[in-house]
């Protein structure tokens, strides 16, 4: 009797052992499938291998499906478009060697670069280029993946090196939709597998993806730019906690990470700190369809009552550039300076404006913020204190990111909120959020006829100087209308090992590893 029961226990233990042994084996074969023994996750990288910490997984590895800036920050190392974005916000020829635009601005003719190979060894052909755009536009049987090319009337490849696109209407911003951000060139031969086994022409090739853990890229030995890249391996390590990331940098477990402003002092001595203008706009905004935010004077009063400097000092330890409109100095010529001083902090004036608007005693409202980043609830706290001084009583409602998106961004069921609008390389795409017919992105419900007109005119304008004038006028309108409280473009501070060189910063999220090396 006794014995039999002991056997039962032994059998159970044996089963448990088998289960855990089986699952161990599972991982082992996975690693072996990759063909190479990877280095232990926690050991510091070797000579030309970098470990870069990023906050979260990419949404997709397929560049046509990915939308989050965080995804492109990583996967742009694998893919290229006809044009390559540059750190100063301009474009250079990438997989297109040269191009011509017809007089009427409708026909774009590209010469495809010869001798470029995909990571699987296949040469780049015009077939692949045609396939890429057909896939994006939903012309080869699949779902349409992007609306960036709705304005394209036809695409054609008249010979083996030429690719032609014809537009329905002229669009001076069109070339910006030809970078890997919007139209990475993918090989036709990899159709249906772009997400599991992404293949591009970029300096690094896909090696392995472990969800929630890391993404490993290996050197593209046959990269078309001679001598590049230098690194043999790039690993993007996922770690959502900023504070823990700093500890990992100090412990040598990652080579590069973003460092929160208040912790710079700890890492400054032994690591390089580089500053990147994020090219974003951090805003506190309102639902302009709702009372009392449909009143210009109320919006102006709030603009004057919120102290941008308080927010910059306490949230970003001073590492931020105050803004007055939705454009960052990182955008160079397109940026209009001076708007940041239009509504300077002035409680008395704000009170007066509020009284003129018919709210001498202020009002009650609610600010809905997402909890996925501490920054938003913290900013809301400061704003609430500031607004109390002019009699506006604001309640803070903190919600999950998914709920914020559903309720505020897509549902427009909110009164006030705060968010940072991420930067893009094109001035048009930064400013088009406010066009009244852009129902998808205009969650402010901003409606201004002059603004719509300016943004329509700029697409027809081919002269760059005149385009700049239009874009600057658009920024002025946003300030005049006090569309939002434009707080700042906060800097991202990158802490990196001292022997790393070649880091570049772009006016959008991109960890460009092409020229990075350890010395």
């Amino acid at each position: 009797m006794f014995k039999r029961k002991y056997w039962l226990v032994l059998a159970l233990l044996f089963v448990m052992f088998i289960i855990s042994a089986c699952s161990e084996e599972g991982t082992e074969t996975n690693t072996e499938n990759e063909g190479e023994k990877e280095t232990a996750t926690a050991t510091p990288a070797g000579p030309q291998e970098i470990r870069v910490r990023v906050n979260d997984d990419p949404d997709f590895l397929d560049p046509h499906r990915a939308t989050a800036s965080l995804s492109f920050q990583q996967i742009l190392n694998m893919f290229e478009g006809l044009f390559l974005p540059q750190p100063d916000g301009s474009l250079t020829e990438g997989l297109a060697e040269s191009y011509e635009v017809s007089e009427d601005g409708l026909t774009y003719t590209f010469k495809i670069r010869q001798g470029v190979k995909f990571h699987n060894g296949d040469p780049l052909t015009t077939d692949d280029v045609v396939y890429t755009f057909e896939r994006l536009m939903g012309l080869n049987g699949g779902e349409k993946l992007s609306k960036n090319f709705d304005n394209v009337a036809s695409i054609d490849a008249p010979d083996a090196t030429t690719f032609v696109m014809t537009l329905k209407e002229p669009n001076s911003n069109f070339l910006y939709s030809l970078t890997a951000l919007q139209s990475a060139i993918l090989p036709k031969s990899n159709d249906g597998k772009h997400n599991e086994n992404p293949i591009g022409t970029g300096p690094f090739a896909f090696a392995k993806y472990s969800p929630g853990t890391n993404l490993e890229l290996k050197k593209n030995e046959e990269y078309w730019q001679e001598g590049l890249p230098y690194l043999d391996k790039v690993t993007f390590v996922y770690q959502s906690d900023d504070q823990a990331a700093v500890m990992n940098l100090l412990a040598g477990e990652v080579d590069l990470t973003g460092v929160p402003g208040h912790r710079v002092a700890e890492v400054e001595g032994s690591f390089n700190i580089s500053h990147q203008n994020n090219n974003s706009s951090l805003i506190i905004t309102f639902n302009e369809e709702k009372e009392p935010f449909n009143n210009l004077k109320v919006r102006q009063a709030i603009n004057m009552a919120i102290s941008k400097q308080d927010i910059i000092d306490s949230i970003f330890s001073g590492y931020a550039t105050p803004q007055g409109s939705n454009m960052s100095p990182a955008m160079g010529d397109y940026y209009l300076d001076g708007l940041q001083d239009v509504y300077s902090f002035d409680v008395e004036k704000a009170k007066k404006l509020l009284a003129e608007a018919g709210y001498p005693d202020g009002f009650k409202t609610k600010i809905t913020v997402s909890s996925h980043n501490d920054m938003y609830p913290n900013i809301a706290q400061i704003a609430v204190e500031n607004l109390k001084q002019i009699g506006i009583d604001v309640e803070i409602e903190t919600v999950e990111w998914g709920i914020w998106l559903e309720r505020v961004y897509f549902g427009r069921d909110y009164e006030m909120t705060t968010i940072d609008l991420t930067g893009r390389p094109s001035a048009y795409e930064i400013l088009n959020d406010y066009i009244s017919t852009n129902d998808n992105e205009n969650f402010f419900r901003f409606k201004n006829d002059e603004y719509d007109q300016v943004m329509a005119d700029v697409l027809k304008e081919t002269d760059r100087e005149k385009q700049i004038e239009y874009y600057q006028r658009a920024q002025e309108i946003l300030t005049e209308q006090a569309t939002a409280v434009y707080i700042a473009d906060y800097e991202i501070l990158w802490g990196s090992k001292k022997n790393i060189t070649g880091l570049k910063s772009y006016p959008f999220w991109f960890h460009d590893m092409k020229e990075v090396k350890f010395n």
């Binding site: 009797m1 006794f2 029961k5 002991y6 039962l8 226990v9 159970l12 855990s20 699952s23 161990e24 599972g26 991982t27 082992e28 996975n30 690693t31 232990a40 996750t41 926690a42 050991t43 997984d57 949404d59 997709f60 499906r65 939308t67 989050a68 800036s69 779902e143 349409k144 993946l145 992007s146 609306k147 997400n195 599991e196 472990s210 969800p211 929630g212 853990t213 390590v237 770690q239 906690d241 823990a244 500890m247 990992n248 100090l250 412990a251 477990e253 990652v254 996925h372 999950e400 990111w401 998914g402 709920i403 998106l405 559903e406 961004y409 897509f410 609008l421 991420t422 998808n440 992105e441």
Partner: protein, 313 residues
């Protein structure tokens, strides 16, 4: 046999109820998986095409029945967030979580049991009072804070310990231990505090019983009195608590994996909930349910091993 069948039926009912509740909760919760995943930069074309591809545009009961059907063929469906099979994701991460949990359990067992016996023998002496008050502290410490403290004072000072990530056992045993010991300690310390008090009380209770006096007066050596009689008789309540603690340890891995950036099931659960990744949450909830039910089953069997008067019915 009858016992096993009854257990099995109970298990199926539990799983079915749990899965319906999880599914229901996800329909009530605000937040949309596709929008959450694609964020503010998505346009309506991308959102619609992905929703169609994932089959999220179909009626709810159809989505649920599909999932149940898959379950019978061993297919847990595809994760929305990671676009890969849920079973692959789970299999990748189970070794991590099971390793942390078993290591933590071993630590609890090997520390709490001897400590409890040691203190019971010295009732009301200084060592007993000191240890008993120390356990009050151990019970009060939240595990995320303890984890941070261990990272700062042990992880940062000893090269051996890694404070981030996981090294598979198959690669290096020392490497695996270097990533697992601190998280396991984080879970174990508060549990040791709880368990040790139960061991102490349970043994003290037995010590006051008549049979102990009788065997002592019979002249049995103290060692045999303690280990052969008292300990064995006090095992039933200790075992009950042990079963509960195992469930707590499994739950504890969720927090600890977050603190130590261990790529385990708990970390996956948090990600999947915030992304409203329904198939993945279902898969993980299934794993937790199965584990807890299985542990209770083992505890029931152990009862009858320790005390043959208890029969499995």
């Amino acid at each position: 046999m009858l016992y096993i069948i009854r257990r099995l039926v109970l298990f199926i009912v539990t799983v079915a109820l749990v899965s319906i509740i999880t599914f229901g909760v996800f329909q009530i919760l605000p937040g949309d998986p596709v929008k959450t995943m694609l964020g503010t930069e998505a346009d309506e074309v991308q959102i619609e095409s992905l929703r169609k591809e994932l089959g999220l545009d179909r009626p709810l009961h159809e989505q649920y029945m599909d999932w149940v059907q898959g379950l019978f063929t061993g297919d847990l469906g595809n994760s929305i967030r990671f676009s890969m099979p849920v079973s692959d994701l789970l299999m990748d991460r189970l070794p991590v979580t099971l390793s942390v949990a078993s290591l933590a359990l071993v630590i609890v067992l090997f520390v709490a049991l001897p400590l409890g016996i040691f203190v019971a023998k010295r009732q009301n002496k200084l060592s007993d009072v000191l240890l008993s008050s120390a356990t009050q502290l151990g019970m009060a410490i939240p595990s995320f804070w303890l984890g941070m403290i261990l990272i700062i004072y042990i992880g940062m000072n000893f090269d051996f310990f890694k404070i981030n990530g996981y090294v598979p056992w198959s690669e290096s045993i020392a490497g695996a231990l270097s990533t697992l010991v601190l998280p396991a300690l984080t879970i174990a310390i508060p549990q040791i505090a709880v368990k040790f008090r139960y061991v102490r009380t349970s043994i003290l209770e037995q010590m006051q019983l008549d049979y102990v006096r009788t065997i002592r007066s019979k002249g049995l050596p103290e060692k045999i009195v303690m280990y052969k009689h008292i300990l064995k008789n006090s095992m039933i309540p200790i075992l009950t608590i042990f079963g509960l603690i195992t469930a707590e340890v499994v739950a504890g891995t969720i927090i600890v994996e977050q603190v130590f950036a261990l790529p385990g099931v708990g970390q996956l659960l948090i990600t999947s909930i915030s992304y409203r990744d329904f198939p993945l949450v279902q898969g993980i909830v299934m794993y937790i349910t199965v584990t807890v039910v299985f542990i209770n089953f083992v505890v029931d069997i152990l009862y009858s091993v320790i005390d043959p008067r208890i029969r499995l019915r």
